[in-house]
C-alpha cells in the first residue's frame, strides 16, 4: 500500500534540489560575468587612457596597463575578473574613482523600495481583478480587466510617468514632485535620523518621524503607482488564466459537492493551486519592475540603481554601467531561484 514517504528522505530530496539549484545559479552567474566581461573588452573606450590621461608617456601608459592586468592573456584576465566579482569588487568608477560596489549599495535601496511598493500594489489590485475576471468570463468586468491590463502592457512607462507628473503634480498638486523627499526633509533625514535600511518609508517610521514619512509617501506614491499599474497588468492577466484553468478542474466540483460556499471554493480550494504558478509570476514581475525602474527613475529623479546606470552611461563610465548590469542580473537570478524554492514549498508534488 502506497502512503506517505518518511519525512527525512523527503527533506533530503529537497536539500538536494536546492543544491542543484545553486549549481545552476553559479553557472548562470558565471555566464553573466562572461557576457559583461566580453562587453567590457570590446568597448571602444581605452580604459588605460581614461586613467592616465592623454599626455601620459609610453612608460606611464605601460605601467598603468600592467597595473590593470591588461597585459595578461584574456582567460587569465577573465579569471581575475570573476575572482574580484565574487569578492564583491566590481572595479572602480571612472567618473568618481570610488569602488562601484559601494556606490551601488548606496543607490540600490531607493530602487528596492520603489519596486517593492510597486509589486505590492500590483499584487493587491491584480490578484482580485484576475479572480473577478476568471469567475465571470465574458462579462463586462472581465472585458474591463482585460482591456485595462492590455493598456498597461502597451504604455511606455516613462511617458506614463511624465503624464502622471503633469496631471497629479503639475495640475492637481496631489503628490510630491521628483525626488524621494522635499529638500528640507532630505536634510533632516541626513542629519537627524538613524538610517537602518535605506528605505525611507521604513527608516522614518522607525524613527517616528511621521512628517518626513508623509512627505516621502507623497513622493513615492506616483512612481510606485505607475510601476504598480504595469505589474498589475501582468499579474491580473496571469491570475485570470491560472484561475480559469483551476476552476475547470474536478477537485473544484468535489468542493462544491461538499457544499462549500463559492468564496471558499475560489479563495481556498482554487487559490491554493493558483498560488503555485503565481509565485513565479510575482517574482518575475518584481524583477521586471527593478528593470522598469531604469526609465521611471530618470523621470522622477529617483536616486536609484536605474539613475546610477543611466548617469554612468552618459559619462561613458563603462565599469559602472557593467557593474550595475551585473547587480541587476544577480538580483534577477536570485529572484528566479527564490521563486523556485518557494514554488516547491507551496506545491507538495514538487517536493518529492
Amino acid at each position: 500500500m502506497t502512503t506517505t514517504q518518511n519525512t527525512p528522505a523527503r527533506s533530503l530530496a529537497f536539500l538536494r534540489q536546492i543544491a542543484g539549484g545553486l549549481t545552476t545559479l553559479a553557472i548562470t552567474l558565471l555566464g553573466l560575468l562572461l557576457v559583461t566581461f566580453f562587453i567590457g573588452r570590446v568597448v571602444p573606450i581605452d580604459p588605460v587612457l581614461s586613467i592616465v590621461g592623454e599626455r601620459a608617456t609610453a612608460a606611464q601608459y605601460e605601467a598603468a596597463r600592467v597595473a590593470l592586468g591588461l597585459d595578461q592573456p584574456l582567460w587569465k584576465q577573465f579569471g581575475i575578473y570573476v575572482l574580484d566579482a565574487v569578492q564583491g569588487d566590481l572595479g572602480t568608477s571612472i567618473r568618481t574613482g570610488a569602488p562601484i560596489i559601494g556606490e551601488i549599495a548606496r543607490y540600490f535601496p531607493a530602487t528596492l523600495e520603489l519596486a517593492t511598493l510597486g509589486t505590492i500594489i500590483g499584487v493587491i489590485v491584480g490578484v482580485p481583478a484576475g479572480v473577478l475576471a476568471a469567475t465571470r468570463p465574458g462579462s463586462l468586468a472581465d472585458q474591463v480587466v482585460r482591456l485595462v491590463g492590455l493598456m498597461g502592457y502597451s504604455m511606455p512607462v516613462f511617458w506614463l510617468g511624465l503624464i502622471g507628473l503633469l496631471v497629479f503634480y503639475g495640475h492637481l498638486d496631489w503628490v510630491g514632485g521628483p525626488g524621494r523627499l522635499d529638500p528640507v526633509y532630505e536634510m533632516m533625514l541626513e542629519f537627524s535620523m538613524t538610517q537602518y535600511t535605506g528605505a525611507i518609508l521604513i527608516d522614518t517610521a522607525l524613527n517616528g518621524a511621521w512628517e518626513v514619512f508623509a512627505n516621502a509617501l507623497s513622493h513615492i506614491v506616483l512612481p510606485a503607482g505607475i510601476l504598480g499599474y504595469v505589474s498589475m497588468a501582468y499579474i491580473s492577466r496571469m491570475t485570470r488564466s491560472f484561475m480559469m484553468n483551476e476552476l475547470g478542474q474536478e477537485y473544484i466540483t468535489t468542493a462544491r459537492v461538499k457544499g462549500m460556499p463559492e468564496w471558499r471554493v475560489i479563495w481556498v480550494h482554487a487559490m491554493k493551486n493558483v498560488m503555485v504558478p503565481l509565485i513565479t509570476v510575482i517574482a518575475l514581475s518584481y524583477a521586471y519592475l527593478l528593470e522598469g525602474s531604469v526609465l521611471t527613475e530618470t523621470i522622477f529623479a529617483w536616486p536609484g540603481l536605474g539613475s546610477y546606470i543611466t548617469d554612468a552611461l552618459f559619462t561613458a563610465d563603462m565599469p559602472a554601467v557593467l557593474g550595475g548590469t551585473i547587480v541587476v542580473g544577480v538580483v534577477f537570478v536570485t529572484l528566479n531561484m527564490a521563486s523556485d524554492i518557494l514554488y516547491r514549498l507551496v506545491d507538495p508534488r514538487a517536493r518529492t
Binding site: 500500500m1 502506497t2 502512503t3 506517505t4 514517504q5 478542474q249 474536478e250 477537485y251 466540483t253 468535489t254 468542493a255 462544491r256 459537492v257 461538499k258 457544499g259 462549500m260 460556499p261 471558499r264 480550494h269 491554493k272 493551486n273 503555485v276 507551496v346 506545491d347 507538495p348 508534488r349 518529492t352
Partner: protein
C-alpha cells in the same frame, strides 16, 4: 415513497455552433435502492448525475419539469438551499481521485473541511470523525493517510478517501460516477465491495453511473440505459440479459464471454430508427 423524482430533465450547452443537447428529456424515480445508469461515452449519463446536484457550469443549462428530492423541488431551490443539500444529503464520488482530490491540500484537511466549516466542529472532534470514516473504508493506517497529500496515495487509496469524505455527513443519496473505471482491475473489486457494503449498511439511495453493463447488473437493483441523451430502456437488473431494446442488445453483444464463440465481436448496429432522432 420515492427519494428522488426527475421528470423531463434537459441539459443544454450553448456553443459556437449552436446549442448542443447533452440530456434530452430524461425521467426516472429512485427510492432507497440502487439505480444504475449505463451508456457509452457521450450518452449523457454523467450530465444526468451532475444535473441532480445542479453542478452544471455555464455555458451549460439545466431545464426540468420536476426534480423532487425528498419533497423539495431542486429546480426551484435557491443556491443556498442547494449548498445545504449538497453538503449533507446528496453526495457524489467521481471517476479519478487523481483529479477529484485537491492536490495541494492534505487529505486530513479535505476530509474534515465539511465538518469544520459546515458543522462547526472543533479540530479534535472533526479529526476523530475523519479517522473513523477512513477506518470504515478499510484504510489500515488512517493517521498517516490524514497527513498525506493526494499524490502520495495510490488510486485505490485515493478513491477510498473520496468515498470516506463523501459518506462522512451520512447522505441519503450517493451518486457514484464511474467510481472504479480509473482504477486497476485488481483494486476495482475491493473498492466496489467497500462501496456496496456501506450503501447497504446505511440504507441510502445510490445512482451508479457506468459504461460497464455487467458490473451494473450485478451491483444495482434497476438499470436505465441511455443513448444520445435519452433513456432508451429501463430494466430490472436481473432481467438485463433479456433486454429488448436493440441498443441494449447491441451493448450486450459486444461483450466477450468465456466459452462464447471466437468470432470477432459485433460492433453496434446503429441503423434502427431509435439511433437517429
Amino acid at each position: 415513497m420515492s427519494l428522488l423524482e426527475v421528470e423531463n430533465l434537459r441539459v443544454t450547452f450553448s456553443t459556437e455552433t449552436g446549442p448542443v443537447e447533452a440530456v434530452r428529456g430524461v425521467s426516472f424515480q429512485l427510492g432507497r435502492e440502487r439505480l444504475g445508469i449505463v451508456g457509452e461515452s457521450g450518452s449523457g449519463k454523467t450530465m444526468t448525475g451532475r444535473a441532480v446536484l445542479r453542478l452544471i457550469r455555464p455555458p451549460g443549462k439545466i431545464q426540468t419539469d420536476r426534480m423532487i428530492f425528498d419533497g423539495q423541488d431542486l429546480s426551484k431551490a435557491s443556491e443556498r438551499d442547494m449548498r445545504a443539500l449538497r453538503g449533507r444529503r446528496i453526495a457524489m464520488v467521481m471517476q479519478d481521485p487523481k483529479y477529484s482530490l485537491n492536490p495541494v491540500m492534505r487529505v486530513g484537511d479535505q476530509l474534515t473541511e465539511g465538518l469544520r466549516q459546515r458543522d462547526r466542529l472543533g479540530a479534535a472532534e472533526a479529526r476523530k470523525k475523519a479517522l473513523a470514516a477512513l477506518e470504515a473504508v478499510q484504510i489500515r493506517d488512517p493517521e498517516r493517510v490524514m497527513d498525506a497529500y493526494p499524490h502520495e496515495l495510490s488510486g485505490g487509496m485515493g478513491q477510498r478517501v473520496m468515498i470516506a469524505m463523501m459518506l462522512i455527513p451520512e447522505p441519503d443519496l450517493l451518486i457514484a460516477d464511474e467510481p472504479t473505471s480509473a482504477l486497476d482491475v485488481t483494486v476495482q473489486a475491493e473498492v466496489l465491495s467497500i462501496l456496496d457494503g456501506l450503501v447497504r449498511e446505511r440504507g441510502m439511495g445510490l445512482i451508479f453511473i457506468s459504461h460497464d453493463l455487467r458490473l451494473v447488473a450485478r451491483f444495482c437493483d434497476r438499470v436505465l440505459v441511455m443513448y444520445k441523451g435519452r433513456v432508451v430502456e429501463e430494466l430490472v437488473a436481473r432481467d438485463l440479459m433479456a433486454a429488448q431494446h436493440p441498443y441494449t442488445r447491441g451493448l450486450l453483444n459486444c461483450l466477450p464471454r468465456i466459452g462464447g464463440s471466437r468470432a470477432p465481436l459485433p460492433g453496434l448496429d446503429r441503423t434502427g430508427t431509435w439511433a437517429n432522432d
